[in-house]
């Protein structure tokens, strides 16, 4: 409901009536909750603040203001308003005048009786009396059947606009309303704290800076909201109330910057829009350096006009950042619609909240409140809830990406190992064949030709030694005899050599193992036996090893058992030895079964399908 009393007041003013008491009288009742602005007129002065006397106040200009809240423009230094309270009941009524905006510099309430001002209460920096609690409150007592005119004088610094509701509550009503408000504020901070804990927890797990930035942003935002709703007043003595405003301004700036940084990280601007990403960071650094640091140093020397220009530049920067994030968001949404739209929604609430605050606090347009609390609390709460959900989705995404990456890496690793094993076998084969057939044959022939023509036992012996050496070398590299004697024969030969040097008892048997097994397969199985024996020698501490080869209808099986100490489960698939075995088994499309029980030895089964043999 909007009522324009201007004309009435103006007429009264013209008639030379000193004070405009033409407004509706506020009737006292126990459930009183009255917006003072609706019942009064505002007079402002741009002069240097003076001690309020009726004569001085008479020089103030009547503001032609139809707002439903008090708005004191940039250049206003002092303002007053008048209102009339009538108590028609037979009871006295305790009331309280509450300011919604906690950064007015000073407020003084007078009762006007016979052209004289009688101070009723004061609060603020100059008055030296701080607010109790988060809001500014001045108590008013209305006696039975009392009707009084009141005059409220507000003081503020030039260059800083003020927008505030001033509400007259009965004490009872105030208790009820502030109870509800405090509950809502409590909810807000509850959500914030939970979100901070959540994001820090996630940061601890993932070490992803986006989560830490979100945490910092939430902290800055919480400080901003807290000071916006006047909680800084609780901690500050009256003469330092201005610092609350500093905290408020700093918090909003830092939260904006942190939000932009966080949004850039979340929207992966570095990847999708590297230039914009860099520009934004440069702008942020410049903004902090120029606006904050320089303004702090030369701020006092600035005229109001210069200050306004600075403020406009600052708003321009903020606008740029908002647009930059918006562009980044639009690009990101193409890549990731789900997370992108969630973020967009929270961004919308943030922007709406911020724009409304600027419109309300700076320009005096628009007022959106719920339960007497600024919209910013609700917009911010929704923003945080949505952002936390977004974050949760991102965690899911990261988890999924990591899993995909891990499996890709595993596949890559396996492929690499396969190639390595194949190449190694190829190389060994080539080298072994070269040594054995070519070099060995030539030396042998040389020896024979020599012995045929000469008789020199020493040289013959030397020849024989070279031949033996080459033979041993060739056999160490590749079991060329696999092709000649088959896998069981080659394994037997291997074990015979081992038996010479080791106390380990190795039983080997083969059961219907096919003679015509593919050479590659036989070689692979031979290498597996070698590898497993190496493992036993190195780690198992075993005394008996049973190696068996079985030929089945469509498969062959290698069974390798030892009675060693066994290995723990964790170790079982690590180690290049076992990995290369697995790789060989995989090459043959086989299965590798590894069962190891601590203290009960190890059993390895390799099953290779042989459909074509």
């Amino acid at each position: 409901m909007k009522i324009n009393y201007f004309n009435t007041c103006f007429a009264l003013f013209i008639l030379g009536i000193q004070f405009c008491f033409g407004q509706k009288t506020i009737e006292v009742n126990p459930l009183l909750q009255k917006n003072i602005k609706i019942n009064s007129q505002l007079h402002v002065s741009k002069e240097k603040a003076i001690t309020p006397t009726l004569t001085a106040l008479r020089k103030f200009d009547l503001a032609m203001d139809e707002r439903r809240f008090f708005y004191l423009d940039f250049d206003v230094t002092q303002a007053y308003t008048t209102f009339k309270i009538a108590n028609t009941t037979k009871h006295k009524q305790d009331m309280v005048l509450v300011f919604s905006y906690p950064f007015i510099e000073d407020a003084k309430l007078f009762k006007v009786v016979n052209d004289s001002l009688y101070p009723q209460g004061q609060i603020g920096i100059f008055s030296g009396k701080g607010p109790i609690g988060r809001n500014w409150k001045i108590p008013i007592l209305s006696l039975p059947n009392e009707t009084s005119n009141y005059l409220l004088v507000l003081k503020k610094a030039p260059g800083k606009p003020v927008a505030t509701d001033i509400t007259l509550f009965s004490n009872e009503k105030h208790v009820a309303v502030s109870g509800l408000q405090n509950t809502l504020i409590g909810f807000y901070f509850g959500i914030t704290v939970l979100s901070i804990l959540f994001t820090l927890f996630i940061f601890g797990l993932t070490r992803h800076s986006v989560f830490l930035l979100y945490g910092f942003y939430l902290v800055a935002l919480a400080i901003y909201i807290a000071s916006y709703f006047g909680f800084s007043n609780v901690f500050l003595p009256a003469e330092q109330l201005n610092n609350g405003r500093t905290v408020y301004v700093l918090a909003i700036e830092f939260s904006t910057i942190l939000f932009v940084l966080f949004a850039q990280k979340l929207l992966r601007a570095k990847k999708y829009l590297p230039k914009l990403n860099r520009t934004v960071i440069v702008v942020i650094i410049a903004a902090i350096a120029v606006f904050r640091v320089i303004l702090h140093i030369i701020g006092d020397a600035l005229t109001v006009g210069q200050f306004a220009i600075f403020m406009k530049l600052w708003y321009g920067t903020i606008l740029f950042l908002i647009l930059a994030v918006l562009i980044e968001l639009l690009v990101y949404i193409k890549h990731n619609p789900r997370i992108g739209s969630l973020f967009a929604l929270s961004y919308l609430f943030m922007i709406l909240g911020a724009v409304f605050v600027v419109l309300h606090q700076s320009i005096g347009l628009l007022k959106v409140t719920f339960f007497g609390l600024s919209h910013i609390l609700f917009a911010s709460a929704l923003e945080i809830i949505l952002l936390s959900i977004t974050i949760a989705f991102i965690v899911g995404q990261i988890y999924k990406d990591r899993n995909t990456l891990a499996s890709t890496m595993l596949v890559e690793q396996q492929r690499f190992l396969n190639a390595f094993v194949l190449g190694q076998e190829e190389e060994r084969k080539r080298l072994g064949a070269e040594l054995h057939d070519n070099v060995g044959s030539r030396i042998s022939n040389l020896r024979r030709v020599f012995s045929h023509k000469h008789t020199d036992v020493a040289i013959e012996k030397e020849f024989d030694m070279v031949c033996d050496e080459i033979r041993n070398m060739a056999h160490a590299i590749t079991p060329a005899e696999i092709a000649l004697v088959g896998l069981p024969g080659a394994v037997e030969e291997l074990l015979e050599e081992l038996a010479k040097s080791d106390s380990l008892k190795i039983n080997f048997n083969s059961f219907r193992f096919p003679d015509n097994l593919e050479e590659d397969m036989a070689t692979n199985l031979f290498r597996i036996v070698q590898e497993l024996l190496q493992n036993v020698f190195k780690h198992a501490n075993a005394s008996v090893v049973d190696i068996q080869l079985f030929g089945h209808k469509n498969s062959v099986t290698l069974s390798f058992e030892d009675d060693g100490q066994g290995t723990s489960h964790k170790k079982k698939t690590s180690g290049i030895g076992l990995k290369s075995i697995q790789s060989r088994v995989a090459q043959m499309n086989g299965q590798f079964l590894f069962d190891s029980i601590k203290g009960k030895g190890t059993s390895v089964l390799v099953i290779i399908p042989t459909k074509y043999t």
């Binding site: 030709v449 031949c467 033979r471 024969g489 039983n507 030929g551």
Partner: protein, 214 residues
Amino acid sequence: MKEKVKKILICEDHQIVIDGLCSIIADFSGFGVVDTVTSYSSLYSSLEINKPDILLLDLNLPHKNGIEILRELRVKKNPVKVLILTMYNKKTIISKTVNEGADGFLLKNCSSEDLLNALHHVSENDFFYYGEGVIKSKKKSGFQEDEFYKRIQLTSREKEIIKHLCDGKKVPHIATIMYISPLTVETHKKNIYRKLGLNSVTKLVNFAHENQLF
């Protein structure tokens, strides 16, 4: 008594070795190289045409190895005496050539006397000639006994599984008891059946009973 010159065929994939052998054999009286081949593809036609008395056979040959050639010759009942000439000096290989019906085994670094001895030996005798330094290996004997002995050589894990199977336990149950995977148990079971020549638990129980496994 003037003997007929024994015809020798050399099957060897290194020309230098062939050349060396030829020059040595050329000095031997009573032996002459009739042909040299480098792989099995040209071997059979040469055998057909030249009808050699002795074949000097390398083991490592391209496409088909010496043992396979030897086996084929014996399957075809070719009477040629086969003298293996190789770098390998391994028991399994030697016994394999013995089993496949070779007549002698020479190492490639043998002396010319050794070669001459071998040539004489295989043309005159039926028993195996072991060249200088060749590891002696006996022909596998008592194959049946050996197989049975092998059969009842059960590993401790196999015995454990047999015991559980004889107790009537199923594979998943045994896996749980032994802390191993069901597939491992299943594979062991399959192996045991193959080893013992069985195909059912009933037969396994009988086998265990007859052989007093427990």
